[in-house]
Symmetry: C2
Subunit: 468 residues, 2 copies
Amino acid sequence: MIETPEWVKHAVFYQIFPDRFARFGGDHLPAGIKLKPWGSCPGEQGYQGGDLYGICDRLDYLVELGVNAIYLNPIFSSASNHRYHTYDYFEVDPLLGGNKALRALLDQAHVRGIKVVLDGVFNHASRGFWAFHHILENGQDSPYLDWFLIDDWPLRPYHADESNPPNYQSWWGLPALPKFNIQNPGVRKYIYDVAEYWLKFGIDGWRLDVPGEIDDDEFWREFRRRVKAINPNAYICGEIWQRATHWLQGDMFDATMNYEFCSLTLSYFGYQALRDDYHKNNLPLQSIDTNSFMAAIEDMVAAQDWQVTQVQFNLLGSHDMARPLWILREDRYALQQAFLFQMTMPGAPCIYYGDEIAMTGEDDPYCRGAYPWHQPELVDQAMLDFVRSVVQLRHKYQPLRTGRLSFDRDLPEDVLGFRRELPEQQVQVLINRGKVPQAVKIDGDLNWHLVLGRKGQVQSHGRYLQVM
Amino acid sequence: MIETPEWVKHAVFYQIFPDRFARFGGDHLPAGIKLKPWGSCPGEQGYQGGDLYGICDRLDYLVELGVNAIYLNPIFSSASNHRYHTYDYFEVDPLLGGNKALRALLDQAHVRGIKVVLDGVFNHASRGFWAFHHILENGQDSPYLDWFLIDDWPLRPYHADESNPPNYQSWWGLPALPKFNIQNPGVRKYIYDVAEYWLKFGIDGWRLDVPGEIDDDEFWREFRRRVKAINPNAYICGEIWQRATHWLQGDMFDATMNYEFCSLTLSYFGYQALRDDYHKNNLPLQSIDTNSFMAAIEDMVAAQDWQVTQVQFNLLGSHDMARPLWILREDRYALQQAFLFQMTMPGAPCIYYGDEIAMTGEDDPYCRGAYPWHQPELVDQAMLDFVRSVVQLRHKYQPLRTGRLSFDRDLPEDVLGFRRELPEQQVQVLINRGKVPQAVKIDGDLNWHLVLGRKGQVQSHGRYLQVM
């Protein structure tokens, strides 16, 4: 029997890109440094100085939003602002406040009932990672020679070009990202040590970066055994954009980042507003009718065990794609519908920081702007209020979290209807993505709750419900 | 009034080059690595795998030798086998066993009354040091820009050559060793944090690498204040090869590595055996007669306060010079005399690992051979016994450690005589560096102790003493 962490079924995640969510600064951080102004164009390289103390400082904002879990993009020491180029897996980046800041964040988050999941980048290190640096400096005399996959000498991590590509295995051929030799026992032990260290430190799980590129099931099985031995409730969520049934049999990951959900949801609610000039691998975006959408969601939900489906990481946006609002051509109404759908579906919803206030932006790096604490006029209060309300809805009705899903057929075109059912309670959801109100025949005397309406109120006329 | 640590006046140091003293290995070290065989030619680059657990394992050897203080060459994480290229000042090198190994070493050394002094390399970092690496990766977008002294862009740490020298300040123009911008408050804080962290961890002092190249007295004054605030008995010993009166006024260092002592002592006892083809900056080696030698030693001893003289770090060999036995053209007798002189002089004597068993070798890297635990036949037992005996002499007679020094004049040529005097006890030392026995007139009925004789015994004929 497959087991997944109970808490995730009840979680509403908030994804934070640490350099850009909130800047606290102060004496906890390295002195004598220069940061870019908060709110600089994210298209520029560099650091705007978000840090973990900044997150501590805004936890109450998250509580108010209804968030009870945080997924942090990488926080270990790195020489890139997204921190996927780890140089030290045992030290939280000094610019984020170091290990002390994570201690503070974990303590303050846990007091509020908020879980914290970290980003584990274990497929590749960086060319600044100590063991790779050791090889760079010592050549074939380095004892760590076998920790990476070196093709010839001397190494070219800094002067590779098209005619001289990096002469070692790297992620997508990027010289900055040498790939670990996962078959080396020292590397395996090192990665397991890292995973265990931070679980003991108190984190609540690992989001795994590109784990499918570590093509060794036994590596991940052992990873899971070790993680769960320390914390049986730890969440293991793999970044696999496609269907990942193979990894979701209960012996490797609890869940994956559900880009399929994202793709379908934005496609459906984007309706006519969808950007058709935005192409992203594994994120197909194209208008889809209601019947096809329902079939696709049903297929997605049924693709793995129900235990897994309930903890799938359902996202609408992330650091790796354009902001959903941008994809929806700034159609706030469509984004709200997508949020409503996300909060009423099986799987743990995740709000990418700022989407809840209608931040917009093209693909990476433009999707990584600074949260506008400094410019409150940029906060879309209506969007924020709406997201809060649908998060509360999810928390209020247990079936929205753990109830079985079934779609209602034979509704008017552009009206989506479905139920989430537990033996003791059932919830029915109706969403009209169209531009005109529709009358829907309903089963009996239900209590209807208006979440969103372009015009007027939900009107219950006998056995018909006017939807928007 | 100048204060220096009392314990250093009674210390006999043993300097250890960690990669080459003793290898313990085992599960404490990274897995999946390849080391060179123990005892490989030190002329080859690479790692022979000495580690701190190996030192723990040999502490009883040091106790038997009479050693009560260890000076360790750098142990922090580094991609060079001498570890002067620090990439992480807060982590003991994994190849040495990491911070846990230092914990074990400190605990096991302290139990035996052995102090441990670390090597602080604060003038320069390495190109693998995180903040420099950060600049390398981020260019002018790195917040750490001002931590180093960058001349232009892009940085050339890995493809500098004669026509394209490194375009940042570095130690002796070496691209591997970027110089810290000590004027940056973040750098100052970082270095002070490092110094304080390890003192709190339990070390007994800092040997400072090339501190004269941090030309900022106030930096070192503050360094001293912080060090002594944590441990008033901590020893601060600067690596300054020349006279360093300026730094020895009580507000900066307690002592310096006394290469002047080394130079004079090898020159004097080397006599006719001295290698005249060995030239080393700040280590002049040339035969010197007894009167000139006495005058030079007197001048050296008087150059700073007596509190300082008693804790000067008197060495005969180090990792930075040819082995004294090699300098003395393998004349074991001359080396023994030098050891005798070292153990009877004011100042804390230091034995460079292996000199006590007559290891020999040219300049760096040949002076860094592996201690031959694996080949006991390479241990010169007579030399070892002798060094033990003169160390014991120093421990036995307090005046040899803290008594005032005065030379005896009017002795036969090639006979060196001096006294070490405390009010309650006096010691007189006579050493004949010549090849023929000499008769020396003595003052009264003293107890003479034969330490060393080429021929026969010390013979006391009334008021004359036959010296060797």
